[in-house]
């Protein structure tokens, strides 16, 4: 008995040793590159680069004050706010709605569903920069050529005209963004009980009614996940602007995501990092409660699967 418990304790000790040895590096990486980086990011927002010492020194709330002032006063940030909200609403409203409808079509194995699944997934396979380059020249050159051919008049490209370029880029963002969502929703729809679907069909429910009353509640948790995670996209969605324009996009097209990436990309020294980090901190402070509020709202007022 004693021999057995000693063997058991020895095995447990070996197990613990193995457990610690395997997890040591991933945990160290997490501590340094997640906790450390994010804590440093917060600290950076309260510092400034000192040319005298070549290091960062305490700057109090100067960066945050400057960032808040710029957010309110500068045209660039006013258009960033407007564009980021528009992109968020359109991608959530149209992106998710169409992705759900397309997924339902595929889940029901309607004619051509396999082919459409591949086509919808294509933008995930082809690099976004490749899609953007082809799209960019298509809406500039091919569109103008088609209009000229049809009307005989020369036409400006859709990206060249200030009236159409935002809509053209927004359309691309939604158009190329179905792939992952369709896979996830189709997968979630596959988990809906067949007996519930059959019962609805026997009761004479139309496909639209089945979609609304059975399928949507059935995939609600997946949908909430997408919407919840998507809230942060208000501040991170670049609307592919970097692929379209590099660092040269006009201010009226800016989104917060583009501003953040472009700023880090353009900064060749560390002097500008505290200013950028202060925006990161402000956006995080807004995004965290907003994410939880959206999650709560969807769970509170969404359909109950039972």
């Amino acid at each position: 008995m004693v021999k057995k418990s000693v063997a058991f304790a020895k095995r447990n000790r070996k197990k613990l040793l193995f457990y610690c040895a395997v997890l040591a590096l991933p945990i160290l990486q997490f501590c340094v590159f997640y906790i450390g980086v994010n804590l440093n990011s917060v600290l950076l927002a309260f510092r400034r680069y000192d040319f005298g010492t070549g290091g960062f020194v305490w700057a109090g709330f100067d960066n945050l004050e400057q960032a808040c002032r710029d957010l309110i006063e500068l045209d660039m940030f006013r258009s960033s706010t407007k564009n980021s909200i528009i992109v968020f609403l359109f991608t959530q409203l149209f992106g998710i709605s169409f992705a759900l409808i397309f997924s339902y079509f595929i889940y029901k194995k309607m004619t051509g569903s396999g082919f459409f699944k591949v086509i919808l997934f294509m933008p995930q396979i082809v690099s976004s920069v490749v899609m953007v380059i082809i799209y960019k020249y298509f809406v500039e050159r091919a569109y103008s050529a088609v209009v000229e051919m049809l009307t005989g008049n020369t036409a400006e490209g859709l990206l060249a005209s200030p009236d159409t370029r935002f809509g053209t880029i927004l359309f691309f963002t939604i158009w190329a963004g179905f792939g992952t969502q369709v896979l996830m929703y189709t997968s979630a729809m596959g988990g809906i009980s067949e007996s519930v679907v059959d019962a609805a069909r026997i009761d004479g429910a139309s496909p639209l009614r089945e979609f609304w009353n059975i399928t949507i509640p059935g995939v609600w948790s997946t949908l909430v996940t997408f919407v919840t995670v998507g809230v942060a996209h208000i501040f991170t969605n670049q609307m592919n602007l970097y692929s379209f324009y590099g660092t040269q996009a006009d201010y009226d097209l800016y989104t917060f995501g583009y501003f953040l990436y472009k700023s880090v990309q353009e900064t060749k020294s560390m002097t500008n990092y505290p200013y950028i980090a202060s925006f990161g901190l402000i956006f995080t402070v807004i995004a965290v409660p907003l994410t939880f509020a959206v999650k709560w709202l969807f769970e509170r007022f969404g359909p109950k699967t039972d």
Binding site: M110, S187, G190, P207
Partner: protein, 300 residues
């Protein structure tokens, strides 16, 4: 397996029509891109929409040879403490892509796989903390931490190096941790117990018994990650500025003014060259890549 819907309703007809339009727009765009890549610049100026002029064997196939031979990305590298301009050719771009996407995808898949195995199959409370940490970091958005990340990489002398890029990929956070966790939870403990009775060590059980049991999920995630990293140009642009990958090269070409390269057909050629390998990968592993990824693993 769900049976195919028999009845046809107006709803499905409308959705079908929308999907046909979507498919046509996608195929038309890709066809136009490939078609343009086979034109000379003069031909493209005169004929934006049509097929390339002349017989197929007279199309501008040379564009491909030209790009493969002469396409380069101008970067700046620190050589002996001096910032020196360097032109990175396509072969080095391929090498950089394989280093970044090939090794990066292995690291980014194996780390969450192994950590999720530890969380799912060992009865330590720390496993629950790991799962909770992953979920919390997925839900809580942290924005704009790149400056801090770059500062840290610079201070560790890891900035602009593959080692630095791999260290960044060496994390277990993200959705695929939950995918592996669900898969390992579904695997019976009896396999491991049988191996323990045979005297196998913990490492042997993990590497030779448990991980092979989830190899389908593992291979799928490696493929997904490989395609993701192959296509990614923004992370290399930020963290590996002097080691351009192919996607980075295509982005660079799209804004380049290098004589002979700054034409629409040449840019399309570069696009096609970058896309071909991932399209081949997609065709080979199509069913796996588009399998139903779920938090409970990947359904067959």
């Amino acid at each position: 397996m769900r049976r195919k819907e028999k009845g046809i309703s107006v709803f499905f007809i409308v959705v079908f029509a929308v999907l046909v339009l979507y498919a046509l727009s996608m195929l038309l765009l890709l066809f136009w891109g490939v078609n343009t890549s086979l034109k000379t610049q003069n031909d493209f100026r005169k004929n934006v929409l049509g097929l390339p002029s002349g017989a197929p064997w007279n199309w501008a196939w040379d564009n491909y040879v030209y790009i493969l031979r002469y396409f380069y990305v101008p970067v700046k590298r620190e050589i002996d403490g001096i910032t020196t301009p360097v032109n990175v050719g396509i072969l080095e771009q391929v090498f950089n892509t394989l280093m970044y996407a090939g090794i990066g995808s292995l690291i980014a898949t194996l780390v969450p796989c192994i950590v999720s195995y530890m969380a799912a199959k060992f009865d330590f409370r720390f496993g629950k903390i790991l799962v909770a940490t992953v979920i919390v970091t997925l839900v809580i958005p942290i924005i704009g931490s790149q400056p801090s990340e770059i500062q840290l990489l610079r201070s560790l002398s890891l900035y602009d190096s593959f080692l630095g890029a791999w260290v960044l990929k060496f994390n277990f956070l993200g959705m695929y941790f939950l995918v592996f966790y669900g898969t390992f939870r579904g695997v019976s403990k009896e396999y491991a117990e049988a191996a323990y009775i045979d005297g196998a060590s913990e490492l042997t059980v993990m590497l030779r018994v448990m991980i092979p049991l989830v190899k389908v999920t593992l291979m799928t995630v490696i493929c997904i990650k490989f395609i993701e990293f192959w296509n990614d140009y923004q992370v290399p642009l930020l963290y590996l500025p002097s080691h351009p990958t192919l996607a980075y090269g295509v982005f660079s070409l799209s804004t380049s003014s290098i004589q002979g390269m700054n034409t629409v057909p040449m840019r399309m050629v570069a696009c096609v060259i970058v896309v071909i390998p991932v399209l081949v990968l997609f065709v080979v592993f199509r069913d796996r890549l588009m399998g139903n990824v779920s938090m409970g693993g990947i359904k067959e």
